[in-house]
Symmetry: C2
Subunit: 625 residues, 2 copies
């Protein structure tokens, strides 16, 4: 636990120098370097695939955790010169000649370490380039032009969207995406006007429509009542907001490279990285203990791991809609620049993010993350004391939280993801879900006409909002005051008074501690019993002997209602339990497995956690929401 | 549903005139008038009790709901003269000669309507006067002086607190309170230094100690680490806050008398009253529908109904600790002035409250309620649209909520109660729990020494924080778009696909509606099944035929773990279910019954809801938290 003890010194001494933290995201020049290494590799190797390859995912290949912790604890001014720097590795997931390659490169000496073909099920995330190309295809397709014409619609008013295909038991799959189209014709709210009945399957490697369905026609929902642009409405008050959401010009946090230090209201220090898959990753979060005079670790790493969004309409054109957005599209790749004064207050600090295009070139997403102090309007703590004679004490400590925010828009939905650090030492992870419903056109204009299960709610004339879930799962690698942690249940149990007369009471509850021994025991159906869930450090005790720990305070939880053998459920098997706690394994971060697009459910949290050997008391939380 | 249609006109025309709403709280002059009527009554009536009486509770005797609604709908400029004014009644709960009287008076003609003796179990709330007198008794008691001296303590450093006694099966009870004492001796944090072992039972009518226990001595916990005064600590940043929590000087709501109208960000209109029992009462909350051009009702009345705080230590001096704070002390009576810039932002509007002293005289609690616009830091709605070629749309609507806040400090705990009205039409009820733990002195200084169940957590040397619950229950009388409402469960049910080949899916969920027919069916264990809970108006439909309704969105819920036959549980029997929905009955507002102090559990929500006759589809929500 000395690892954070010197971090404060470091920040103090190099206050104007950017620290190269081993978890810093890839810089644009590093991305260029990776692309250069890959290009050299493929152009030199005669046995390699042709140079016709695309970059699907490029990321830091993180050093092992123990090495990062070692670096943090040793990398301070007095010993810095004697510490050998950590290697800087990166990985590139590439599609070339119909195969998925994982290449690992060393940026320190610009060398290729490995190029391995991935032969398992599932594919890397879709690229923006191929999505854009796929969405051009319908407009050029005579079949589609005919379908649009036969509906009396105008091709120039059509917008198409990509919908990942999922997997439904096929032995062989192709990289493909379903394309469906929507109609503007007077509204920017394209999701409110689906051109129902038409679905196209696009082969992403051949980049052509390989299946074309025009099954039926449904009335196009009306424009009336769909427009949301403030310029088209009486939303003058919204523009007011930008001026009004004024906070103090100063704030109490500082950012050095990717390290954030919040000294004004609390003493948090943590690392922030933009990541094209997870969106934002928080690492090495620790809090300064002024009594001990050192930083104490809380969270080694936390990020959104996966989203599962199954729709409940089994009919053609809808049955495949069960998305794993983070693995299929990427929360970071789907993030867009935040609006100062609207998405974040005027005094927020904005960070740019860098992603890699399909061509291997870096591109910038400006203002993709914002960091700000949130004046919550609640009290962090207060007390009025009126029982001291002659003295009325009133103490109020208003609450200010430090927020790290990113917004990912995946099609119709906007996920507003906040990491919120509080003065009391808690970390709150939350997602605000906004945007527009995924709607289906229908002939119905009143629910009185409906006699079948339409799998949704009639929300307007000819418009059904289809039933669906959003399961958002987090990977939380807690290191509470050090590396070895246990997962403990503090169960509240009713006791009946056994000696009548000893007390006027007949009952009370007490607390029974249970340390989880296996990963199977450590799955929890949240809210099913009166219990406090804690991650404790069994080697660290308070002055009076209690374990040092963090309590997991969850909100309402939901689990998937799909049948276990249904294909979307097989791919997101983890969604049957809201909380899993597993042993630490650096590679186990993505709840539905790393190669998520069209995955078969043979990788992921539910698979990893089936292990029976090596059950350890020292468990790590894989996370949940 | 015409009742609110003219309210907007009214507010418009009488913008500078205070409206006398039939639910306006009693004014100081009305309180004086009530006291005068009561005094005249008792001094004139020879058969009445002696004039030695005390006022325990004085409140508006509300007109019947249908008359209030009638008044609201008819009381506008054009018909005002033809509408007969509603009678203005008040009730006074008085203790006189050992009996509880309920007097009802008519303020319009200054007459007494009735004086009835309440012969049932339970007593009205304690008065501040008698609490203050009871806390003086120990300091003058030779027994207590001896106990303090024998502990080597200084009487001048002792502060005592009142703890209601509860009821433990006694056939006869006296109005009494337990007094325990705490030690300052260098700290303002009196709750951290209990003088353990001493309990005194004070007869509140005779105002003397009737039982004195000095059972054992425990070490006095140390001062070190207990002080919380900012002047004694490095809390300079807190004083910063007052300046920094600056919001725009203007706000978008107006207050006319007790009517609040929020036109800036939403179109809420509601009535706010301070109440010595409930704290704050929100009435006739409605929202302006600009399409229909009229106000539509949402909530007839909402307020905190009861708190149940049972402690889990069955030993002497602790076993009786199971408080029903609202009925025993009153949330309003326990409220204190709010600190501008700390409890509420600088631009908040503060309302004074008026309560009645034991002597019948009105007294003011300044700034007891605040109303402000909360810039939450979240989005009310946002969307980024990138699928329209050549156009990038970004729409962000930041969230501003209108908050009505009161803070009640009941001994060691501070309840920060917020009613929060949103732009999207929801009402959020929340309580922030702050203050200080109720602690018990012990000889233990490390948990390694503990081999018994100590019924709490050792939080410092010689200091146990005793296990306990806080159940906060709300009375919510919803009138969604009119007076007749139903309580409906929308249950999510898994369906298995029965025709293989019809779809690649094997399952999906759909929604089954169930309208609750009886109060027994309408009790809900929140979170136990996948269900949406709605209060709908079966007579009002949207354009496409859906019922107009509000969804009850609850957080985590907890229920009491005490045995059903334990006395505290009998008195708070409602705490076994987090949600009860009952038929409307004007008198059924207080979940543990109206006469709560030392109640026997023969009144209250669990009793009322046992009725089997007159089960009605039209139910009213009695509330929960």
């Amino acid at each position: 636990m000395s690892m954070f003890s010197l971090l404060s010194l470091l920040l103090l001494c190099f206050i104007n120098t950017t620290i190269n933290h081993p978890l810093d995201p890839l810089s644009p020049s590093e991305i260029n370097q990776i692309t250069h290494i890959v290009h050299n590799h493929y152009s030199k190797t005669s046995t390699s695939p042709s140079p016709n390859y695309t970059f699907h995912y490029v990321d830091l290949e993180e050093p092992e955790k123990h090495r990062v912790l070692q670096w943090l604890s040793s990398n301070h001014p007095t010993t810095r010169s004697t510490t050998s720097p950590l290697p800087r590795l990166a990985k590139a997931i590439i599609r070339a000649n119909g195969a998925t390659h994982k290449l690992v490169v060393d940026l320190t000496d610009s060398s290729l370490i490995s190029d391995r073909v991935y032969a398992g099920h599932g594919y890397p995330p879709l690229t923006i380039k191929e999505i854009t190309a796929a969405l051009e295809l319908p407009l050029k397709s005579p079949q589609f032009q005919h379908s649009i014409l036969s509906r009396g619609l105008n091709l120039s008013q059509v917008s198409c969207i990509p919908l990942t295909t999922g997997w439904f038991g096929q032995a062989k799959t192709k990289r493909a995406v379903n394309v469906v189209c929507l109609y503007r014709g007077g509204t920017e709210n394209i999701f409110s006007r689906p051109i129902e009945g038409i679905t196209m399957l696009v082969d992403l490697e051949a980049m052509k429509i390989i299946k074309y369905f025009d099954r039926f026609k449904a009335p196009l929902p009306k424009v009336e009542g769909t427009r949301y642009k403030s310029s088209k409405q009486d939303f003058k008050l919204i523009s007011d907001f930008r001026a009004k959401w004024a906070q103090p010009k100063t704030h109490g946090f500082s950012i050095d490279g990717h390290m954030v230090k919040w000294a004004n209201w609390a003493n948090w220090a943590f690392h922030v990285q933009f990541n094209t898959r997870a969106g934002v990753i928080i690492s090495t979060a620790s809090i300064f203990d002024s009594e001990q005079g050192k930083y104490r670790s809380v969270l080694y790493r936390g990020h959104a791991s996966e989203t599962f969004v199954p729709y409940m309409d089994p009919s053609d054109g809808w049955s495949f809609r069960a998305y794993l957005d983070i693995g299929e599209y990427g929360f970071g790749q789907s993030a867009s620049p935040l609006e100062p004064g609207l998405d974040c207050p005027g005094n927020a600090v904005f960070l740019d993010g860098y992603a890699t295009g399909a061509d291997g070139k870096p591109y910038k997403i400006p203002r993709v993350i914002c960091i700000f102090e949130r004046y919550t309007g609640h009290a962090a703590w207060r007390h009025t004391e009126s029982y001291i004679k002659g003295e009325l004490i009133k103490e109020v400590r208003p609450q200010v939280n430090l927020v790290v925010r990113i917004v990912s828009t995946v099609g119709n939905y906007d996920y507003i993801e906040d990491w919120e650090f509080t003065q009391s030492g808690t970390i709150k992870v939350g997602v605000g879900l906004s945007g527009i419903l995924q709607m289906k056109a229908t002939s119905y204009t009143n629910i009185d006409q409906i006699t079948e299960d339409v799998h949704g709610t009639l929300v307007a004339d000819n418009t059904l909002a289809i039933y669906h879930d959003h399961f958002i799962t987090y990977h939380l690698d807690l290191d509470v005051d050090g590396n070895d942690n246990s997962f403990v249940k503090y169960k509240m149990k009713t006791k009946r008074v056994t000696q009548p007369g000893s007390t006027p009471r007949k009952s009370y509850w007490t607390v029974v501690q249970e340390t989880m021994k296996t990963e199977a025991d450590a799955r929890v159906q949240l809210g099913s019993e009166p219990v406090d869930l804690l991650v404790i450090n069994p080697n660290k005790k308070t002055n009076v002997g209690n374990y040092v720990g963090y309590r997991l305070m969850h909100g309402l939880s939901a689990t998937s209602l799909l049948a276990d053998d249904d294909y979307p459920q097989i791919r997101a098997a983890y969604s049957k339990w809201p909380l899993w706690v597993t042993r630490y394994n650096q590679s186990e971060r993505w709840a539905s497995g790393f190669y998520t697009d069209q995955s078969h459910g043979d990788d992921g949290l539910a698979i990893w956690s089936q292990r029976t050997s090596g059950e350890a008391e020292v468990a790590r939380m894989h996370g949940d929401d």
